[in-house]
Subunit: 143 residues, 2 copies
DNA sequence: CAATAATTAACCGAAAAAGTATAGTTTAAT
DNA sequence: ATTAAACTATACTTTTTCGGTTAATTATTG
């Protein structure tokens, strides 16, 4: 039931840029070093984030990455969806045919997880990176 | 972020016994056939459930498995914990040293997931198998 | 003792996760 | 135009987890 490592890296990447002045652009290498993420792997994750419209990439000399949207418009849910493809806990919520229990969807477990899943998604959508960056600042102020 | 197959099988196994008259005892083979679960794999999952005090096992002739507690005392959370060991979404919630972002726990992401995790756990603990079995019955009544 | 059924521990193949490599493209600056 | 700095695309390798199986063992009933 864990998120992958790539997703956690993506959280950090976005959080860091969200903590910088708006529009800050950084190279993959710099961000990787700063956040202790393997550089090539970071680049790979970046592709998912740019494809999802979360990051913007600049090629060539003086290229790098910047946030494509305002941090307040990027949620935890967005990142998970971009990196993992979907956010479901139970496989049958995502793909009914994955279940071998021939119940035709008349399943109390399915029902329970539909609810839980929905609430979880709402919670994840309620948390955006403007808020997270703000919190991060207060941590650093108290250090 | 998915639960694994074993956990889903465990849900079914417990739900089925919870739907039967209290104290019903069944062999692994019978339960496996009934719920379309590979038999040997079911047996393996059963060990986690018995170790967790959810199932009771009887060896030898006329042996089998039965629920060890009343269905109302078995929750979704219990099953996940028994089969997967822990229910955390973020690895750092379970093992702080798993994070390479040297922030000493002063992390907005960590904070956000602590909350979400806690709420998720509460939701999972709120759903027990007496209720699920009840729901299952109404499905069958309407069929 | 014989038959039955769970237990234990080891094992295995496949798939997914995590990370790396290589060969391009694009771009700014010289 | 060249060059060097950066991302892109694809493909590859390695490690871990998942899903499941085997085989020998132990416990129970009759």
């Amino acid at each position: 039931m864990k998120l992958n490592q790539a997703t956690d890296y993506a959280f950090r990447m976005v959080l860091y840029l969200a903590s910088m002045p708006e529009g800050t652009k950084m190279t993959g290498a710099a961000l990787a070093e700063n956040q202790h993420i393997p550089e090539r792997f970071l680049l790979k994750i970046m592709r998912s984030l740019t494809a999802a419209g979360i990051m913007k990439s600049y090629r060539g000399v003086d290229g790098g990455f910047a946030l494509q949207r305002h941090p307040s418009e990027i949620t935890l849910f967005d990142i998970i969806e971009a990196v993992e493809g979907q956010t479901e806990l139970q496989r049958c919520l995502h793909d009914m045919s994955s279940c071998t229990r021939e119940c035709g969807g008349m399943c109390a477990i399915y029902g329970a997880f539909s609810d839980i899943q929905h609430q979880l998604a709402e919670r994840l959508k309620a948390i955006n990176f403007e808020g997270l960056a703000e919190q991060e600042r207060t941590f650093h102020a108290n250090k």
